[in-house]
C-alpha cells in the first residue's frame, strides 16, 4: 500500500475522524477509520457497495453513535449530540434516495431548511410579533436566493413532489444549504441523474466549495468524483484502504484490487476507475 500523502494543515481540520468503528449485530460495518477534512475542501468518499460509506455518513450526522473512536467537528466532539443539534452546529446532509417534504412547495422546503437559523416559536407565530414578520420576510428572501443559486427560482411555488427527479436533487441541496452549514454531506448526489445533470451537479458543487463550504460526498460516478474532489478516501469492507489526491488514489494497487477483485493485474496508469453499479 502506498503511503498516503500527508497534507500540511495550517489550521485544525473541520472534521476529524479518529479510529471509528461500528458494528451491527455481528457485522462489522466500519473498523478503525481515521481521516480528516480540511476546511474548504471537497472530499470524495468512495468504495464498492457495502464498504460502509452510508454508515459513516450516519455516524457523522449523528444518527448512530460509533462503538469506538471519536469524531470531532470544528474542534468539539460530536458524541451524544442529536442530529438536529448537529445541523445547528453546521453539519447538513442530503439523502441517497432524495427525501423531500413532498406535500410542501419548493420554496417551503427551503424555508424548513432554515429552521435552525430562525427563531420564531409557537407564541410568536400566533401573536404575529413584529420581529416574527421581519424574520419571515428575510427567510423568504434567503430561500429565493438559494433557489436562484441552484437554478430553481422559477419553480418556487411548485409542489416539491411534482419536480422531475434531477431537480429534486438540486432542491435537496438547496434545502441543506439553507441551514448555512460549514460541512455539507452529499450521499450519492449523482445517482439517478443523466449526463447533463451530472455535469451541472459538478458545477454546483464547485460553486458550493467556492462559498467556503466543506463538502464530503459519497459517489459512485467516478469521473465526477475524481474531477471535483481535492482528496479521496477509499473504503472497502469497512476499512480505509487508501486516501490521497485523485491522481494517487487512481493508481493505487490496493484500490484497484478492491474494485476489480484481488489478483487482477494493475490497470494502465492514469486510467480512470469505473465502479461497478
Amino acid at each position: 500500500m502506498n503511503a498516503p500523502l500527508k497534507k500540511a494543515h495550517a489550521e485544525p481540520p473541520l472534521l476529524d475522524i479518529q479510529g471509528v468503528s461500528k458494528a451491527f449485530g455481528g457485522v462489522q460495518a466500519l473498523a478503525d477509520i481515521t481521516f480528516a477534512l480540511s476546511t474548504g475542501s471537497v472530499t470524495g468518499l468512495i468504495g464498492p457497495n457495502g464498504a460502509g460509506k452510508t454508515t459513516l455518513f450516519n455516524l457523522i450526522s449523528g444518527i448512530f453513535a460509533p462503538d469506538n473512536g471519536r469524531i470531532r467537528f470544528d474542534g468539539t466532539s460530536i458524541k451524544k449530540i442529536k442530529p438536529h443539534k448537529l445541523v445547528e452546529k453546521g453539519i447538513a446532509r442530503t439523502f441517497q434516495n432524495v427525501e423531500l417534504f413532498e406535500s410542501m412547495t419548493v420554496l417551503e422546503n427551503v424555508l424548513v431548511g432554515q429552521h435552525t437559523r430562525t427563531r420564531c416559536g409557537m407564541w410568536g407565530s400566533i401573536l404575529h410579533l413584529p420581529g416574527v414578520m421581519a424574520e419571515e420576510r428575510k427567510a423568504r428572501e434567503v430561500a429565493m436566493e438559494l433557489l436562484d443559486f441552484v437554478g430553481l427560482s422559477d419553480h418556487a411555488a411548485t409542489q416539491s413532489g411534482d419536480l422531475p427527479f434531477g431537480w429534486q436533487r438540486l432542491l435537496e441541496i438547496a434545502r441543506a444549504l439553507a441551514a448555512r452549514p460549514k460541512l455539507l454531506l452529499l450521499d450519492e448526489p449523482a445517482a439517478g441523474l443523466n449526463i447533463v445533470e451530472t455535469l451541472q451537479l459538478g458545477d454546483l458543487i464547485s460553486k458550493i466549495k467556492s462559498k467556503g463550504i466543506t463538502v464530503l460526498l459519497v459517489e459512485h460516478d467516478m469521473s465526477l468524483t475524481m474531477e471535483i474532489s481535492d482528496w479521496i478516501v477509499v473504503l472497502d469492507q469497512g476499512k480505509k484502504i487508501a486516501e490521497g489526491t485523485p491522481r494517487t488514489v487512481q493508481t493505487d494497487e490496493t484500490v484497484i484490487a478492491a474494485y476489480l477483485g484481488t489478483g487482477s493485474k494493475k490497470e494502465k496508469e492514469g486510467e480512470p476507475l469505473k465502479a461497478e453499479d
Binding site: H84, F101, M104, E108, T118, M122, S125, I126, E135, A178
Partner: protein, 319 residues
Amino acid sequence: MISHTTRNRIAYAIFLLTIVISGYFLENLYYLQVLTFIGINTLLALALNMLMGYAGQISLGHAAFYGIGAYGTAILTVHCGFSPWLALPAAVAAAMLVAYVVGIPTLKLSGYYLGMGTLGFGMIVNILFREWSSVTGGASGFIGIPTLELGPVSFASGRNYFYLVWGCVLVGFIACQRIIDSRIGRALRAIHDGENAAAAVGVDTQKLKLQIFVLSAAISALAGFLYAHLVYFISPGTFSFIASIRMVTMVVIGGMASIWGALLGASLLTLLPEWLHAFSEFEMVVYGLILMVVMIFLPRGLTRGLLDIYERTVKKSTR
C-alpha cells in the same frame, strides 16, 4: 392572483360575518343549540387535526383532554367554589400538564404503538372519571355545573353562548392558521412528510411533537370547559373511547391537514344524528363505515379527496 394571506383574510372576514348574522337572525333556540354544539365539536376537530393532520401523529385517546377540561371546571367550580373564569385557565393548564407528562414517553412511539399508547391513556382517564366517584360523581355523572356569567352578561341564553363558542372557534382558527403558516407549522408538516428528513434539517422533532400535543390538549380542554357550562351535567360516557373515535372521524371526514375541514367534519358529525331519526341504533355502524370507506378510497380525507378527483377530471377534460 390573490395571495395566500389575502385569501385567508377574506375567508375569516366572511366567517366572522356569517357568525354574527346567523347569531343575530336565528330565533329558534333548538337551532342555536345545535350550532353551538357544532362549534364545540369544531374546536375538538381543530385540536386533533393539528396533531393528526399536520404533525401526522395519531391519537385515539383525545377525549381524555376534552374530559379533563370538563371535569376540571366542574370540580373547581362546584367543589372548590372557583369562579368559572378562574377554573378555565386552571382546567386548561391541567390538561396541558397531563399532555406534557404523558406526551414525553408516548410521542417517542410511532405507528401502531402510538395508537395503542394513546388509546390506553384515554381508557385510563375514562376509568378514573368513572371510578373516582367521590370527586367525579362516578358513572352517574356530575350535576350542578354553574352558568357562565360575565358581569351583567349571562351566558345562559342560547344566543350569548352561541357567540361565546363561535368566538372561541374563530380565535382558534386564526391562531392555528398562523401557526401552520409559520416556521413552526412548516416544521410540523416536515415531520409528517418524513421524520428523519425533518431531523436532518435541524427540526427537534420530539420537542415539536410534544408542543403540538400540549397545544392540542389545551384546545380540547377549552372545548370541554365550554361543553360543561353549556349542559350543566357531564358523565364519563361523553369522554369515552367512542368520543375519541368520533373526533378522529371528524378529522378524517373533514380532511387531514385542513383548518376548514375541521368545520366541515364537525358539522357533518353533529348534524347526521340530528337528521337521521333512528340514528342512535346505527350511529356506530355509520361511523365505522365512514371511517373505513373514506380511508380506503380517499386517504387524504373527504374534502381533499373530492378536490383531487375534481382536479383530475378538470385536467382530463381540458386536455
